[in-house]
Every structure is written in structure tokens, then in C-alpha cells.
């Protein structure tokens, strides 16, 4: 599942953090504690991975032709001559001070790099999930309402095709058709090349920056570039979101209160939206949150094909060139987002779903 960018890998966790209801303060502490422990584990494993990789970080920096003295100098500079645990302790100390170190490869602070690549992913993922939800939810509801009808069948096929399509193939074909042949959308990259750095970077989200700057040419151009990859990611979320929506809705629609409401003569629209749909909101938000978390991890293959400088390809490149500071930094950010979204959905369950109590 690692690279397929499907959303199958994670279903909403219904296991609450603590099995019985605790006083609020204690629960909060417990939650914070579990975040800390998870993050620590995450860092430690990443750190170990970095050290057991057969890629020599020194070689990655000095290149093929370095002399031994150049090599040795960098080896010491990186502190690789110290014991593993000492290295980890140093690293942890820095992280606690919000210092992720400098990228071994491009000599910039990792935090600066992440501040540059993460907004690219955030922008893409946000728009992607937006498309996925805006199309996926109605499709799922419709499929549930008309269970077994042709609409249901189409929804099923649309979703299953989404689950089954290799994204790199779809991406390349999409680029070929919509950009290469039809010219409807912008090509690879976040904006057309002569719009690069035209608007000041405030948020790092080009659409937002352009809007803030009032530069609608840039906005239009950026939108034409993001639309295709975002639709692609949107399609994958759509597949998942629509299937889950359908599932949840079917459960509600077969419930007694729905029959009662219908018998009472309530309009179908009200039955569906005011009752059934209202009851699945929390579950749905969880699904969407997880889907969003998956997109925020960065979809490496999409990023490669669309020359999108996002966090997925950043971490991959870093990993393959043994730039461990960058990998660790990226992992922390992605891991934290995932944990927070997970906790957020757990909380939603606790607050809104009586069954979880």
C-alpha cells in the first residue's frame, strides 16, 4: 500500500484511546503522553533506518571523486564516529529545540526545506480531498438511496476503477490528453515558468498567495496547473469516500427511525439529509480526515509525474541519497499530522457517538 495512494490502508480506528471514560484532565494527559511516546518511537525507528541503510551519507555529500581526506573530514563533521545512542540523543535534543538540522545534501535548514515543500503538498491534498468529498459524498448517498439501480452500479464501478488504477499510468495519460493534446490545463510544475516567484510567498500556497496579492493571472495559471493532479488525487479519495458513504448510509436507511419518518410522510429529501445523513456525519468526517492524512503524506508518484515539489518526493529523494536529517524532519511532520488527525477523529467519536462511550 505504500505507494499506491489508495485509502484502503487505514480505516477509521474505533478503538478509543482509553477504554473507559476518564476525567478530562487525565484523558488529556494520557493523550499527550501517547503522542509523545508514538513520536519518540517514530523518530527512533527512522533514526535506526538511517543508520542501517547501505547508502553512505558521507559519499552522498562528497561524491564519487573525493579523496580520502575529504571523506574523513565530512565523516567526523557529521558525528558518525560517535556511538549510535549518543548521536540519537544529540538529535533528540535538537528536535526538542525545534531544530531539525541542516539537509546534508543542500546545506539548508531542514525546517526551511519543509516549509517550502509542505505547502505544495498541502495545497494539492486540500484541493484533492475537496474534489473527492464534493463528488464522493453525493455519489455515495445516491448509490445508497438507489441501491441496486444503475446509478449504484456506476458508482461501484467508478469507485472500484479508482481503487484499481495505477496512478502513475493515469497521471501520464491525463497529462498527455489534457495538457499535451487538448491544452486545457497547465503542464507539470506548480505555475507556468514565467510566473515563478512573481507573487510574494506568504503562506507558500500559491493560490492563496496570488489571491492575497490580487494577482489573478498567477492565480489562474496556478489553478490550471493544480487542477489535473488534484483531480487525480481527488478521484482516489472519491473512490474511498463514496464507498464508505454508501456503506454508512445503507446502515442508516435500514434503521427503524427512517421507516417511521417515511410513514409519517416526511419528504424523501428530509429523510435522507436531515436524518440519515446527519447521523453519519461523524463517521464520515473520520473517513475524510484519514483520507486527507493519506494525501498529506505526499503522493510520490503523482509528484514525480507532475514535477510537483511536495513532501513525498522530498522525503523519497532524501531517503535515497541518505540525507537523514531531511528524512527525519519529513517523517516527524507527516507522523505528527497523522497522529493529530487520528486523535481528532477519536475525539469526534467520543463526543458525538454514544456507542463509543
Amino acid at each position: 500500500m505504500a505507494l499506491s495512494e489508495d485509502n484502503n490502508g487505514r480505516r477509521p480506528s474505533r478503538a478509543p484511546l482509553a477504554s473507559h471514560v476518564l476525567p478530562f484532565a487525565k484523558a488529556t494527559l494520557l493523550t499527550l503522553g501517547s503522542i509523545a511516546v508514538t513520536m519518540l518511537g517514530l523518530l527512533f525507528i527512522t533514526f535506526i533506518i538511517g543508520r542501517v541503510m547501505p547508502i553512505d551519507p558521507v559519499l552522498a555529500i562528497v561524491g564519487e571523486r573525493a579523496s580520502q581526506s575529504t571523506y574523513d573530514a565530512v565523516y567526523q563533521q557529521l558525528g558518525l564516529d560517535k556511538p549510535l545512542l549518543v548521536q540519537f540523543a544529540y538529535y533528540l535534543w535538537d528536535v526538542l529545540h525545534l531544530d531539525f538540522g541542516t539537509s546534508l545534501l543542500n546545506a539548508r535548514p531542514v525546517s526551511e526545506d519543509i516549509a517550502r515543500v509542505f505547502p505544495a503538498t498541502l495545497e494539492l491534498a486540500t484541493l484533492g480531498i475537496f474534489f473527492g468529498v464534493i463528488l464522493g459524498v453525493p455519489l455515495g448517498v445516491l448509490a445508497a438511496v438507489r441501491k441496486g439501480s444503475w446509478i449504484d452500479q456506476i458508482a461501484r464501478v467508478v469507485a472500484l476503477v479508482g481503487y484499481s488504477m495505477p496512478i502513475f499510468w493515469l497521471g501520464l495519460m491525463g497529462l498527455l490528453v489534457f495538457y499535451g493534446i487538448l491544452g486545457w490545463v497547465g503542464g507539470p510544475g506548480r505555475v507556468g515558468i514565467f510566473y515563478v516567484d512573481v507573487v510574494p510567498s506568504v503562506t507558500g500556497l500559491i493560490l492563496v498567495d496570488a489571491a492575497l496579492d490580487g494577482n489573478w493571472d498567477v492565480f489562474k495559471d496556478a489553478f490550471s496547473h493544480i487542477i489535473l493532479p488534484a483531480s487525480l488525487l481527488g478521484y482516489y479519495s472519491l473512490a474511498y469516500v463514496s464507498r464508505m458513504t454508501r456503506s454508512f448510509m445503507l446502515e442508516q436507511l435500514s434503521a427503524e427511525y427512517v421507516t417511521t419518518a417515511r410513514v409519517k410522510g416526511m419528504s424523501e429529501w428530509d429523510v435522507i439529509w436531515k436524518h440519515a445523513f446527519k447521523n453519519i456525519r461523524v463517521q464520515l468526517i473520520t473517513v475524510i480526515a484519514l483520507s486527507y492524512a493519506n494525501l498529506l503524506e505526499g503522493s510520490v508518484l503523482t509528484e514525480i509525474i507532475f514535477s510537483w515539489p511536495g513532501i513525498g518526493s522530498y522525503i523519497t529523494t532524501a531517503l535515497l541519497s541518505a540525507d537523514m536529517n531531511a528524512v527525519l524532519g519529513g517523517t516527524v511532520v507527516v507522523g505528527l499530522i497523522f497522529i493529530l488527525l487520528n486523535i481528532f477523529s477519536d475525539l469526534l467519536y467520543k463526543v458525538f457517538d454514544p456507542r463509543a462511550k
Binding site: M1, A2, L3, S4, D6, N8, G9, R10, R11, S13, R14, A15, S34, V37, T38, G41, L42, I45, T46, I49, V52, M53, P54, I55, K147, R156, L160, V161, Y163, S164, M165, P166, I167, F168, W169, L172, M173, L176, G180, R246, S247, L250, E297, G298, V300, L301, G312, I315, T316, L319, L320, V327, G330, T331, V334, G335, F338, I339, N342
Partner: protein, 303 residues
């Protein structure tokens, strides 16, 4: 009761005569409801065909999948002797796809064995034993869940070296945590049931309860989940192949074939598209099958 009872009647009886009879009957009824699901049957059909093709690859394939012919490279669809054309080194694409089916099945079988079993072990132990064990195991599960799956898989493959076995291990490593969660949740509900308490009173040990009584009950939901995940697993393996970290050349792994063919996508689109279609078809088959199985085995989770 009629003297001559057909097998069908025996299976559909409402008054089973033995435990085995009841089990068989339930299975048969499941099969009947599964069979009425056209989509799921299509999925099953495709997968059966895949197994047949993989098993009979040497008989079916028109060419040796490794024989190169540089003078006849990138032959188009329908070229003489090469129905699906040839790749960059002039190898027959159809034959490579046929042999590639073996690799796909191999990946699928291995991951389907490793990941759910690992998840089942962790989940049931965690759920049944509870306490500190539960906390520690679930924390580990959380760590793996929170990991960018890509980093985990890539790092693993990079550390152990590229290759199909390592790719399978890497994928399994990223795939087990959700199974552990499911198994734990199931265990928690089963654990407190009267039925387990009764067995406990009879003096059964934890090991026996977990393996003999909890595992069988978790299996059905896991099977559904695994089948639905299979598509993702195939795509993940293809993705690793795409990044050059899966099967090693000249192995005709489908993902690696797409990766090789993507260079020609603009002028020789079929080179990447044919393996793409193969991956798509098999993934779709698993999804259709999984959807159908869910209806049968785990109705509450689905429709």
C-alpha cells in the same frame, strides 16, 4: 422426509443433523448468495483465469519472455507474431505479461500470508491479554501507522536491497497495523462473551483460547479486508517496481514493465499501457471479489 435427498437439499436443510452439516450448510448458502452477485463472480473468474495463465505460462506464452531482438523493438499492437507488440529490447510483451502473472501471484500470496497473520497475532494477543501488553503493542501499532508508509517501505527495501522478496516484506511491514487493529477490536468483543467465559471455566489456557476460539472468529473479517487490500498491495508492488526497487531486471514484473515503458508513453503508449491494463484488471478482480465476500461474510460492514 424423502428417502432420496439430493446434495443440494442436504445442504439447504433447515435442520442440520451435525455440527459439520451445519457448517457445510452455512458455507453453501454463503456460496449461493455470493454466486448471485455477478460482479463478484466476474472477479473470481478473472482470478481463476490468472492462476491458470500463471500455471500454464510456458504452454501459453508465444515467446520466451527474455529473448531480445533489438531490430524489432517497440513493435506496435498486432505486429506479426507479437499481438501486444514488443518492448524496448524487442521482447514480446504478451509473453512477459503471462510470465509476470506468476510474479504477481507470488507477491499476492506472500503478502496475504504475512501481513494478516502478523496483524492477527499482535491484535489478538493485545486484545486478549490486555493491560501493559495491550498498551505496548498498540503503541507500536500506532507508531507504524503514523509512519509515512512510503518511508517505511522505501527504507526497508533500500536497507535490504532491491528485490521482489524484500519488496514483499516491505509491503507487509506497512500493511499489518490495520489488521492488528481489526483483530484487536474483534477480540475485545469476543473476549467478554459468555461463550469464552464458559471455555475458561473448563480450564482452557490463553494460548488455546486465542488459537482455537478467537482466531477462527476473526478470520472472516480479515479475509474480506485482505481481499479488498489486495489491489492496493499489487499497486504498491508495482509502485516499488516503478521506482526501481521491486523486481530486478530482466524479471517481467508488471510494475517494472510500466516503469520501463513509461519513457515511450507519448509515441509507443502500448508498452506501458498493456502492463497497466493487466494490473488494473487483476486489482479490479480482487476488489470485485472483496466486495462480494464482504456481502457474504461480513454483512454488517457492508451493505
Amino acid at each position: 422426509m424423502a428417502e432420496t435427498q439430493t446434495l443440494r437439499e442436504w445442504l439447504l436443510t433447515e435442520t442440520p443433523t451435525s455440527r459439520r452439516h451445519a457448517k457445510m450448510s452455512a458455507l453453501y448458502q454463503g456460496w449461493l448468495s455470493f454466486r448471485s452477485n455477478t460482479m463478484a463472480m466476474i472477479g473470481l473468474g478473472i482470478l481463476v483465469a490468472l492462476v491458470v495463465v500463471a500455471a500454464g505460462a510456458p504452454l501459453i506464452a508465444p515467446h520466451d519472455p527474455f529473448v531480445q531482438e533489438l531490430s524489432n523493438r517497440l513493435a506496435p499492437l498486432g505486429a506479426e507474431g507479437h499481438i501486444l507488440g514488443t518492448d524496448s529490447l524487442g521482447r514480446d510483451i504478451l509473453s512477459r505479461l503471462i510470465y509476470g502473472a506468476r510474479i504477481t501471484l507470488y507477491i499476492v500470496a506472500l503478502v496475504a500470508l504475512i501481513a494478516p497473520i502478523a496483524g492477527l497475532l499482535v491484535g489478538t494477543v493485545s486484545g486478549y491479554v490486555g493491560g501493559w501488553t495491550d498498551t505496548v503493542l498498540m503503541r507500536i501499532t500506532d507508531i507504524f501507522l503514523a509512519f509515512p508508509r512510503l518511508v517505511l517501505a522505501l527504507a526497508f527495501v533500500a536497507a535490504l536491497g532491491a528485490g521482489i522478496e524484500n519488496a514483499v516484506l516491505a509491503i507487509s511491514l506497512t500493511a499489518w497495523p490495520p489488521y492488528a487493529r481489526i483483530a484487536r477490536a474483534e477480540t475485545l468483543t469476543i473476549r467478554s462473551s459468555d461463550y469464552i467465559s464458559a471455555i475458561k471455566l473448563q480450564g482452557a489456557g490463553a494460548l488455546r483460547i486465542i488459537t482455537k476460539h478467537i482466531w477462527p472468529l476473526c478470520i472472516s473479517s480479515l479475509i474480506v479486508r485482505v481481499t479488498l487490500d489486495m489491489a492496493g498491495i499489487i499497486l504498491a508492488a508495482a509502485g516499488l517496481g516503478f521506482l526501481g526497487l521491486g523486481a530486478q531486471p530482466p524479471s517481467p514484473e508488471w510494475g517494472a514493465m510500466i516503469s520501463e515503458g513509461r519513457r515511450f508513453i507519448l509515441d509507443h503508449w502500448w508498452v506501458a499501457t498493456m502492463p497497466g491494463l493487466a494490473i488494473f484488471t487483476v486489482s479490479l478482480a480482487f476488489n470485485l471479489l472483496g466486495d462480494g465476500l464482504r456481502d457474504v461474510l461480513d454483512p454488517k460492514a457492508g451493505e
